[in-house]
Symmetry: D4
Subunit: 256 residues, 8 copies
């Protein structure tokens, strides 16, 4: 029921004598705050269509994760829990043996293959990685996109140290709705892809490397200062964040 409708009802009740003035005022104020809350919810709903909840597991105990997953299962919501280290996963699985653990992306889910959640109006997001060590981040992004109902294509190990491996895949990238480009070390792959294709590009620096990569700083700075125009960047190793940014774009595309 809309706020307008509620106010109208109150006025009617007031006019008909069913409600005293004080009660009308009190209820009007209540609906005022409810509307604020609703505005938020209305804005949210658009994004939420078909969205599963993603559980950020890093600071949660195994027990907390079990409880959240159980409650989601009861509501028939597709489950994805990220940042679950192997030992924590083991604890969760001992209580919920039906779950699937992906040790590459360090995620837990109800199904092994999340592409089953794919929706008709789904976006098509291509995920490109420089090296195999970037797969952890890539898979976190991929599973987040899948559980939200989107199609993904993974193109891995096409870093600029062997640029000829990238060339045959450029057509696929150009056709995507959004490209997530994941690279550690100097992060040059984002510049190279961005210099050739013109789709929206979300670059993810990874902490892969050693020495002067300073935990991903080298790739982060490299992507921010990219000589290729219009590349955007998310936080180091933030596969989930890249997926979220891609979903913002794809949702716009699909609701047009």
């Amino acid at each position: 029921m809309s706020t307008n409708r509620k106010i109208e009802d109150l006025l009617n009740d007031f006019a008909s004598g069913h409600l005293a003035k004080e009660d009308v005022i009190k209820r009007l104020r209540e609906s005022l705050y409810a509307e604020l809350e609703h505005t938020k919810l209305d804005i949210d709903r658009q994004a939420r269509n078909g969205q599963a909840e993603v559980i950020f597991g890093e600071n949660k105990s195994a027990q907390q994760i079990v409880e959240i997953i159980r409650s989601m299962q009861e509501q028939n919501i597709p489950v994805l829990a990220t940042r679950i280290a192997a030992d924590k996963a083991e604890l969760v699985l001992s209580e919920m043996p039906g779950l699937h653990y992906c040790s590459t992306s360090e995620t837990l889910s109800l199904q092994e293959d999340l592409s089953i959640y794919e929706r008709a109006m789904a976006g098509n997001v291509v995920i490109v990685t420089a090296g195999t060590s970037d797969l952890k981040v890539a898979m976190e992004a991929r599973k987040t996109l899948q559980v939200m109902g989107h199609k993904t294509t993974l193109i891995s190990d096409v870093g600029v140290a062997g640029i000829h491996r990238l060339v045959p895949r450029l057509g696929d990238i150009q056709k995507a709705d959004v490209a997530i480009v994941i690279a550690g070390m100097e992060g040059a792959l984002a510049s190279v892809v961005g210099g050739i294709v013109d789709v929206p590009i979300i670059a993810v620096p990874t902490s892969v490397g050693y020495g002067a990569n300073f935990g991903g700083l080298s790739a982060l700075l490299g992507m921010l200062t990219s000589c290729a125009g219009g590349i955007t960047v998310v936080n180091i190793d933030n596969g989930f964040g890249a997926a979220s940014a891609a979903i913002r774009i794809v949702n716009k595309l699909k609701t047009k």
Copy 2:
């Protein structure tokens, strides 16, 4: 003429005896390299529809800028030159008095009001700034978008120090294709906007501030680590880069 078609013609000429085998081979190889170059151009074209050239003025002399603008005028391309300091602008204007200089965005253009370039299929990009000191960056983004043919809405001075000023504008932001959020100091505006609306968000940290803002680093780190999901970031003060990233998204929307 496509490469396929060129090759077919060559084969026909060869079959008909109009061309010797050596010539066919030489011309086939030429078309091979041309195709590579064309692939690049073909991919580019999509983005280029209706696009003007933007001149990055920072490392160019006044004389170089005059020459580039003149050559663009001859080809009837809408002109925008960015990063033109006031004294350099004066030198350019002494030779080309018909140009318009915007001292806020430090840009030169043929027209004062670039919204005349607006195209039918244009995107709708909202540009939000935290403070009036962020206007330089906002106007660089806005003029870049305009000269490329896109619609822009500027919502300025709604930083989180006075969050109540932001509330009435949230509806406008939610309706946009893309929101560019520009803020210096701690850059919190991006988190607040990102926490409420779900459109694609490109955050631009600015070097506005002093002391521990370290030339924009505080806003940059703040935006990268934003607690709001799916926010993407471009380089410090990079209004042009944000516009370019927005155009990548808008072009996808409009060609769907």
Copy 3:
């Protein structure tokens, strides 16, 4: 006995012949240094009214902690030991099974509920956190305040990613003597709260986050460069320090 009084006594003893001149001089010098020490103690006393001792446990062994707590118990001083990792706590508890360990704040105390120490002239400090992961720091601050006799209100998980959750709590914050605002990642919550309410605000950056948060640096810089006026900052994760700063303010309020 005041220094003045002591000197007077000495003079009387000297006048009455009970003390030789050399002894008078010697004792006068002794009281001189004692006064210096006393000045310090006098200044301290004000703050100490009703204050318990807080043990910083990080660099102390379990055995050292046990000894300090025992000696405090004998003097009937309320006990709080902070920065006690779970394994160290276990060692302490094996010797002093009556203690209570709070695994969230990593503190040890004599009582589970420290609000029993609340004094009549206590201050009212509100503690606001952006996310549940900031609870460790918040609880360290809360328990420090409680053991010192102050009232606290905890408002958690109202970070700017969901600003609508914060709105209904603003009235409570505005009524407090001091607000401690705790946030990791970009630390934007301090700016938002500081932009709306005008109570003294002590912002605590936390090391919560990953990638470009660099161990809390992003939140620290964000809070220092906050666009909201008059926000003060303490060290990263320093819940105890924030409580101490709050107590300085509250003590001023209550002794007026």
Copy 4:
């Protein structure tokens, strides 16, 4: 007129038939948004009692500053403009020769001596500096406090290189409502003062120094990691910010 009262009137008008239902709903919604705005204003008012407006001059042109000052003069608001470099001040003074420029604090005001604004309920803020080079920051803080109606005491040049100069002033500091401690280089003065007195302390690191002070970073880190408990810190060189934080505390004290 309160929102409640407005709603009551509307209901009465509706009951009496003076207003149609549609109009009542429309006006109810209007008052809803107005209330949000008013809540903000109500919260603000408390802090605003007796407060002048302070103009941050750094990014404003001389002409803009002249206009703001003129409009404030018309409303009889005490004027203070900070961060006015000498050459900009000269431009302003050529148009408004009656203003006073303080070259130490780089501020403009209507009166040379701002203590004339002192109010009866004013706070008593002591400002302590390590060296004479910190005076610029100290005077920015002092003039901000004065124009807001507060009493200030300036104790300068008592840095730890000559700690004996500080000792005789400790009594004055202990008596203040708040102490603002300003120091560059290693910023040790804050620790020393904080270790002796127990008033609320706001430490301001300054960019005074050279070499490894890195624009104030050495003092900033020194103050954040101070071994003295309960010291709070504002941004480098931020005299205005320190004054604002002091006012938050003093206002609490005076309204108790």
Copy 5:
């Protein structure tokens, strides 16, 4: 005369009675230190074959530079002075109008075209730049190589934002003795070139860029963490250093 020969002569003089024992010992010790000095000179000579002296002009006055150049002219040594800002160059040219100033590389030399110094046994160094703004560094490297007698090839503006421009030049790079790769911003060009060709690569990060490039740090870190194997790096903007490193390699090649 070798040290051995000198010692032999001394022994002969001693044997023949021409020299007293004390004098022999004194002269033997003198030759001992001379040999140390000579060892250094002998090792140096190899590198010095055909080398001109390069004057680092940054910290020298115009007058000092004039004097050094005059003394070099008298000894018929080819002259190159680097890091000569335009105004300093003007002062030098007013006294030595015959010199040539290159405003791109900010160098002074006796000849405009330094390729006249090319030697028969010269190396062949290719210099690749990402953008036209890197030309200053490239030309400093080129002129240093030329004045030392080496051949250079300049391939400019082939940055990864337009990788297709690089492809046709890869053959030339592969044929060189050494490739100096110069790039600012994210410095990705070094990785791309290093991933394709296998010649020795000296990467030079430049301070070209803005925002998060932090004066060349982004390119420096990018090149150090390059995913392409065996790339070496010199200091930011250090064209002279890159040329010196190239000469070390080329000299080895040519003396084999």
Copy 6:
């Protein structure tokens, strides 16, 4: 078969009617892409002569390493796996007990003494270390060079704290094709060696040290800003990278 030859065959087949026009076009395009790939391979081959594959073990599981080594053994390729921590090595050795583990360099290989792979045309690379703690990096470089077929000389523990130990080894360094200089702490050894000998120098900063060495940053900056001319630098602790860079140089020397 060259691309030219392939095209000629296709034309002949087309002329003779063995191939339809569509098939000719299709196959021509295929050879176009194949040529791109071949260009890459041709360029690679030069470097690959006699080269073994080096496995970067850091992000690979023991099982993955076993599989790669087995497949290399079948092809008779000399094996070297780097960055194998002791516990991972144990797992590998339990399956392949014939391998040799070097705990200093943390490498696995088929033979204990890799100098057996030395080739006739091998280069002569001298590896110089400042301290014994730099041996890990030195041995990684040495084994990489050996398995590629090159001669190495190790001169260790000649850091500048005892410069007299270095002097007698300068002759050996000067005679080498390339010198790899490895040092932690302040990295001064590279400057000293570079100031005396003129061979190509590849400096490797190591993370040896503590406190303000910041994980190798002190040595890295020291080597980049070396006052000795023409020193090049690779990433911190990157013994493999230094060896790769040396091989680029040596291969040029040997193929001249």
Copy 7:
């Protein structure tokens, strides 16, 4: 008169009835604080023997400097003013034409040659620089030492790029009371000198260099992490600080 003596006199006056008890107490307290101040002065005196005052000119106006120098002249104190930029010096000299300005060290003094102040008990401090660009810092240290009455020896331009120039001077360094070693870039000279001689060494990093020297940070870190034992470091470019530290040592030597 000693405090003891003063107290005795007071007691006598009290005993004889010349002073009332209240006055005795008041005067006793006064002498208490006076003693604190005196203790400081007594400790200072030792260092002050023969010391001139050094004026830090950086933050002082020309007029302030003139006044301080005039007052020092009247008291016959040798004058040295440091950090006087050329234009400020010109202003001072226009009022006090008898002063001498040293443009290398940027100092003002009464005499050109400050060695005239040399005292009989003076220390012997050797100042060693890596390059001629370090002379500014070296001369600031030298003049500070000279005006304080100490002997200095300057050994310049013996940086490690040409270590053979250093060898013949090692004997002189070893004989000194203290060695101040000044170097920019990687600062390796301190390690080399410290590795050979065993006198007290004060290392001064300078901001000489460019690129990754980051304003002297490279030399600072290099000196702090020096592999040579027992080297101490002062702030970047701090010639005065190095001289002050040397004087602390020399004063100990001479008063033994």
Copy 8:
């Protein structure tokens, strides 16, 4: 036998026909290099008087440490091994149960009380710490000094948070030959001590603290930028380095 004497003997043998000219030349050259080595040793000897060897244990295995200690015992050299973690110490002690392990300083020695090594000509070094957590570094310095034969006085826990504890110890500090001042967090103790006493001061920043102390960086920067003149600094946590620097000074004092 001096080099001069050796040369003389050779000449005599040559003169008397006992040695052929070739042999004389060969032996003369040998003594030339020996002299270089001897010069080093001669210079070293001065510092070595009474010095024990200190073993840096961090990168050495328990077995290596056992072997070094055994060889030192055989030569009757006092033993001190630093940076021995508890578990490594246990391994060493299982083989050499007679050793003493100090868990505070993490050192191993032959005797529990190293003051037995004290020499008649020993220096008197006072070691001052800010807090009890700095004891590890202080004890490393103390034991190094003791094993070298010097007297030490330890004044601990007098940090500036309680400056009144420091005052009574200032006399002892002033009387010392050298003061080593050790502090973490903001490191202010060095400034306070340096502002009062005038003995040589060696400041040691420690990594004690958390948050924005960044592993000791806050204390390091604080000490380098100290407002007290003539303070020198060594690396973070470097107790051994401070002792070595103190010994350089003390040796000068004692050999005067």
